[in-house]
Amino acid sequence: MTSLQWRRFVDLFWTAASGTGVVLALVPLASLLWLVISHGAAGLSWSFFTSLPAPVGESGGGVGNGIVGTLLLVGIASAMALPVGIGAGVFLAEKGDGKAGSAIRFVAEVLSGVPSIVVGIVAYGLVVERMKRFSALAGGLALALLMVPTLARSTEEFVRLVPGALREASLALGVPKWRTSLLIVLRTAAGGIITAVLLAVARAAGETAPLLFTSLNNQYWNLRPDQPTASLTVQIFNYAISPYEDWHNKAWTAALVLLLLVGLLNLLARLLSRNQMEGAR
C-alpha cells in the first residue's frame, strides 16, 4: 500500500468513526424527545397550562401552579445567584491571578461537583429548620447554591475573552479601573454572560432533588416566598410515582411543558449570543 493510499484509508476510517460517534450521541437525545412528545402531546391543552391539579379520579386539571411555582423559585434563585456569581466571575477574571483567585476557583469547582441532593439538605438545615416551614425561599436558596459556581466560572471565561486592548484603551482615557471593568469589560462580555445566565436558569428549572424537602409542593396557587410552593419538577415526580394511569399521562405532559420551557430558554440564549458575535466582529 502506498503512503497516499494509506493516508486515504486512515482519513476514511476516522471520518467514519467520528460519524458513528455523532449518531450514537444523537440516539438518546432523539429517543428522549420522541418519548416525551409521543406520551405527553396528547394531554396538552390550554387548561393544562392554566388550571390547578385535579384530585384523583377527576379528569382535567393542569400544572398552572407548578409553572408559576417554578418561575417563582427560579426568580428567587436568580435574585440571589446572579449578583454573587457574576461578581465572583468578574473578580476571578480581573484580579484572580493571585492566591485568593485560585482558592475561590478551587471552591467553585468543588461546589459545582456537590450533588444537588446535598445542596437541598443544606438549604433544609439553613432555612426550613429555622423557619419551621417548607418555603419557596428555601427552594430558591438551594437552586441559587447550584447556580453560583457555574455562573462564576462561565462569567470568568467570557470576561477573559474581552481583549486587553479594550481595557487599555479605556484606562488610557483616564477611566478608573472599576468603571472600566463595569462599563467596558462587562458590557463587552454581556452577550456571553447573558447566555451563561440563561443556561444556569434552565438547569435550575430542571432540578427536582433539592426541592423535594425545601419548597415541597402545593396544591394551590402560591406567590408568597415563605410558603411551600409547587414546581413542575416535583409535580412530575409525584405524578410519576403515583399508581394512577391518568397521573402517569399527566407526568408525561408536564415533562413536555418543562422541556419546552427549558428549550425556550436555550433558544433565547443562542439567539442572544449570536447577536453578540455579530456585534464583536
Binding site: E168, A169, S170, L173, V175, G279
Partner: protein
Amino acid sequence: MMRPQEVATTSELAGAKREELSGPKVVSAPKPAPTPPIEKTGTSETEQPKLRVSNLNAWYGKTLALKGVNLLVPPRSVMAAIGPSGCGKSTFLRCLNRMHELIPGARAEGTLLLDGEDLLSRQVDPVVLRRRVGMVFQRPNPFPTMSVRDNVTAGLKLNAVRGDHSQIVERTLKQAALWEEVKDRLDESALGLSGGQQQRLCIARALAVEPEVLLMDEPCSALDPIATAKVEDLIHELKAHYTIVIVTHNMQQAARVSDQTAFFYIGELVEVGPTEKMFTNPDKAQTNDYVTGKFG
C-alpha cells in the same frame, strides 16, 4: 535603506506624494481652534520643556528595560522614538502616562516632569494623569459595543462628564480628519469603519478628553500606506495644539513627522536631537548605522 544625504529630499517627496495619495483634501485644519490646553502656562513659560525626563529607569521584574534615560520634549512639537524591537522605546512611552503599571512586575524610577510636576510621584493619581497624557495604540481598538459617536465621547461618558457632547464629537472628528467620512454614520457601530478610519477614531477619542500630551505607540503599523499618510498629516496638524511623542519602527515616518528624534538601543537612549540632524549627521556612529540601515 536610504542614505543620510537623501533623507531630506525623500521626506519632501513623501510629503508631495501624500497629497496625491489622499486625493483632494476634504478637511482643512480645524480653523475654530479649541481652547489650546497649553496656553495656561503663559508665553514666558512656553520655552520650558513640556516633558523633562531625567534618569528614568524601568524594570520588568528583574530585567532592566530602560537605563538612565534623560531627555526634554518641547511643547507643541513631535518627538519620535526609534530603535530596533525590544529596545525600550515602547516602555519609555508607557512610562509617560504610567500605563506600564498595568503590566505585572513593571516599575519605573527617576523623574518625569510634566510642566514641572513629577508624574511618578505617589501623590499623582495615574487616572487623572492619563486624562492629561492620552494614548493611541498600535492596533485600532475602538469599543465594539459602541457607535462611532459614543466611541468619541467614551472618555467623557465613562468619567460621568455630563452635558451636550455633540460639539465635541464634531470638533474632535474634524481634528482627526474623519468627520467627512463618518458624519452620516455616527450612530452605526465603530466596527463598520475601515482600519485606518478606526485608528483616526481612536485618535479622536483620545483628543476628546483634551489631553496636553498625546502618546502614539506605532499608530500606523496596522495601516495601509494611504491610511498611514492620513494619520501622518494629522500628526502635523495636531502639533499646533498638542505635544506628541510617537514610537515608530518606520524611519521614513520618523523623518517625516517629527521635530526631534530619540534613538534607543538595548534599553539606553543612545542619542536625541533634531530629526534632520539625526538622519543626516548624527553624533554617534551607532545612530548613523541604524538610520542608514546598516543594522536593526
